[in-house]
């Protein structure tokens, strides 16, 4: 209490002084009427508080969810109080309890948030999302970490419902998925399965939704779902084909391997494309039925609506030709072989191969394509007769020498004799000529035949005779040479000896130390000297030509 005295000083009059406060020292407070009184304004605070509380309460009431029940076969991955119910990966509810039922199922009691209440209707579907690998896609991988959840696909029907049976497999398409469903009919399923992808220009645009046998068991009905916006590429003229696995084709076109994608190889797939010639461009109606072709070629071939059938009778084997082999016209593929049979002619007792072909006149040219309906039998035969008159013939050609695959070629052979087409025959016949390889074969045969005609025995006898003559001639030559050796050779040797002696003599004459040589050198020296003297004279004369007249002067002058 060291500062007690200070306090007493500051306080002025000591506190022990009793009695009334000295009025003189205390100033009068200034009256102040300006201050307004807003005290009741404080009640704004509790009003706001009440409002907030009421709002929070209202939120609480509104957020009370809807209790639903779902039965599942298995409760794997489900946990009461933790497993969420999700729609588009958004939490819309939570599993409250999981109970056993009397049957083989489990009963999941869940609560759906008030905001998703309206989605729980008669055809709403629930399923458990677990990690799965299907259709070439890994789905629900997030659930490995977060645990399974129940997914919901809201229905569209009106009345709400509280009890559901959960799906064991996720539905292939959800109700709200944009896109359209198409029905495909196929002879067999191939390796297409539910979930197999659907490709458009190798872009994955949808998937297979269901596969089932048709009612008669004569085919398969496949439903595919094409996502928006790709579904608009499916028109009435669109072709679907199976791209499952690897298509290996070995035909007259050579060896071809076709695959769509690795995924399609493994799990199968369906592709579609609209042939460029198709004039229908309006999108197909949903649930339109299409044919599922086995491969792209057959799918795209079908675009020719006009087919003209013809028959060809060959005079030789048609080995190598198969149904589906192309028919070329001047090298352009315009049709295909549809049948290969043997034609037995009872009257002639002959058998010949009969090959049925179809030709797509639409392939011929744009102008011909626009000629309209062509199937007037009379006109067709008439036209064919004109072509044949100009030498049109069918010919079997080998497209692939390696495999021997053959095709039918239509070509012009102007030198061929004129043939009259049997107008009554259906289908009309196109006359044939032995073709390419066949012709070559015939030629070789002819050569062989001609070779056979050669009298090899006579030739051999002649040859032998000639050889004998040759031998005699050789003997004569041998005798001649012996004669040369005995009579002519010594003479020649003696002559050669003389010649050598003569040459030796000449050598001696021409030797360096020979007298003739010495004389010659001396003479030559004399001549050189004389020549020098002449050159000196000539020089002197050139310098002093006057010396000829005046005589030589002294050099000193």
């Amino acid at each position: 209490m060291a500062d007690a005295p200070d306090n007493s000083e500051r306080r002025g009059p000591p506190p022990e002084q009793p009695g009334p406060v000295p009025q003189g020292d205390v100033p009068e407070a200034v009256a102040d009427a300006r201050r307004s009184r807003w005290a009741p304004l404080i009640w704004v605070i509790p009003v706001i508080a009440l409002g907030v509380a009421a709002w929070l309460a209202l939120q609480g009431v509104l957020n009370i969810g809807t209790a639903i029940e779902i039965t599942f076969n298995s409760g794997e991955g489900l946990e009461a109080g933790r497993t969420r119910i999700k729609y588009r990966d958004i939490d819309i509810g939570i599993v409250k309890a999981i109970e056993l039922t009397d049957g083989p199922n489990i009963l999941v009691k869940a609560e759906i948030n008030s905001k998703a209440k309206h989605l729980v209707v008669e055809d709403t579907r629930f399923w458990v999302v677990r990690p799965r690998i299907t259709g070439g896609q890994a789905l629900g991988l997030g659930t490995i970490l977060t645990g399974s959840h129940i997914a919901m696909d809201p229905g569209k029907s009106g009345p709400s419902r509280r009890s559901f049976t959960g799906l064991e497999q996720p539905p292939a398409i959800t109700t709200d998925a944009p896109g359209r469903l198409f029905t495909l009919r196929a002879a067999n399923l191939g390796s297409v399965d539910v979930g197999s992808p659907v490709y458009f220009r190798r872009v994955r645009v949808g998937k297979t939704v269901s596969t089932e046998l048709d009612k008669e068991g004569k085919g398969v009905v496949i439903q595919v779902f094409v996502n928006a916006p790709y579904d608009r590429f499916v028109t009435a003229g669109t072709r679907f084909w199976d791209v499952s696995g690897v298509a290996i084709a070995l035909d007259s076109g050579g060896f071809r391997v076709e695959t769509e994608s690795l995924t399609a190889i493994v799990i199968g797939g369906i592709a579609f494309e609209t042939p460029p010639q198709t004039r229908v461009t309006a999108p197909a109606a949903p649930d339109t039925a299409f044919t599922l072709f086995s491969n792209r070629d057959s799918a795209m071939k079908e675009i020719y609506t006009i087919k003209d059938s013809y028959i060809l009778y060959f005079t030789h084997s048609v080995r190598g030709l198969s149904v589906g082999a192309p028919v070329n016209f001047l090298g352009v593929e315009i049709g295909e072989v549809t049948s290969i049979d043997l034609d037995f002619n009872r009257e002639q007792g002959s058998v010949r191969p009969a090959v049925g072909i179809v030709i797509y006149p639409e392939r011929l040219s744009a102008r011909m394509r626009e000629r309209g309906p062509t199937d007037e039998p009379g006109r067709r035969v008439e036209a064919l007769q004109r072509w044949v008159d100009r030498g049109l013939r069918a010919q079997l050609s080998t497209g692939n020498l390696l495999t021997g695959q053959a095709y039918v070629a239509l070509n012009f052979f102007p030198k061929e004799p004129r043939v009259k087409i049997n107008a009554g025959q259906t289908p009309p016949e196109i006359p044939t000529v032995p073709g390419g390889f066949e012709e070559l074969q015939n030629t070789v045969t002819n050569v062989a035949k001609n070779l056979e005609k050669v009298p090899f025995a006579e030739v051999a006898a002649d040859f032998r005779k000639a050889a004998t003559e040759l031998e005699a001639t050789l003997k004569e030559m041998s005798a001649l040479s012996a004669q040369i050796r005995t009579d002519i050779a010594p003479e020649v040797r003696a002559t050669l000896g003389d010649a050598r002696a003569t040459l030796e003599k000449a050598q001696i004459l021409l030797a360096e130390d020979a007298p003739l040589q010495g004389d010659l050198q001396t003479t030559l020296r004399e001549v050189r000297r004389a020549a020098q003297a002449v050159r000196g004279l000539a020089d002197s004369l050139e310098r002093h030509p006057e010396s000829l007249l005046r005589g030589r002067k002294d050099d000193t002058q």
Partner: protein, 212 residues
């Protein structure tokens, strides 16, 4: 005999400390003769203000306890806890000291504080005896009030520390702001209350100062 300044007609300037004589026509608004500050015999509108703030606190106390205060999300689960629910969960998990702290600091103390203030207000009006005890009660109330904020601090710390989405995530629920508002409102209410009102009743021949 005890004399209170107000009863003697004296007003102390709360800013400059000058003792003023109240205006003759009391109670009327007046200001300090020296510094001009407003003079009040008691805290102005103490009853009204305290009552209003207390009512607001009551109104928000209900959502603060009914709604979830903390939403904890981890990989496997997502839990929402109310204040009491969290305390119960902690208790069941064996963390009972923490549980007791939460119950006391976040549930009992604000409630007790609101009840005490209500009692003080009512008793000041009714001129009940025992002003000394009530003053002590007020002192305790004023002192412990701020400690109710422990819960909010813990929540705030957790939110700041645990943000490893998606592995763990903590966020506040709608109860947290309500609870914070309750704490602040009770503190303001206890500030607005003028304990001198408790003693006015004990003075014979008193005047009412609670509105000026």
């Amino acid at each position: 005999m005890t004399v209170m300044a107000a009863h003697a007609g004296l007003l102390t300037c709360e800013l400059c400390g000058l003792l003023n004589r109240g205006p003759a026509a009391a109670p009327a608004p007046s200001s300090c003769a020296r510094c001009g500050s407003a003079l009040h015999a008691r805290k102005p509108d103490s009853f009204i203000r305290t009552w209003a703030l207390l009512a607001a606190a009551y109104a928000l106390y209900i959502p603060a306890n009914v709604l979830p205060v903390l939403e904890t999300q981890s990989l496997v689960e997502q839990t929402t806890d109310t204040i009491l629910g969290g305390a119960i969960r902690l208790w069941s998990q064996g963390a009972w000291p923490l549980s007791v702290v939460i119950v006391v600091a976040s549930f009992a103390v604000p409630l007790a504080k609101m009840f005490i203030l209500t009692w003080l207000l009512v008793s000041a009006r009714l001129d009940a005896p025992g002003a000394l005890q009530r003053t002590r009660l007020y002192r305790v109330t004023d002192f412990i009030g701020r400690w109710s904020m422990v819960d909010i601090y813990v929540g705030g710390l957790l939110i700041g520390l645990v943000q490893f989405y998606p592995f763990a995530d903590v966020s506040v629920g709608p109860a947290a702001p309500a609870f914070a508002a309750v704490v602040v409102l009770t503190m303001l209410a206890s500030r607005a209350f003028d304990p001198r009102l408790l003693w006015d009743a004990a003075v014979p021949g008193r005047r009412r100062f609670d509105h000026g």
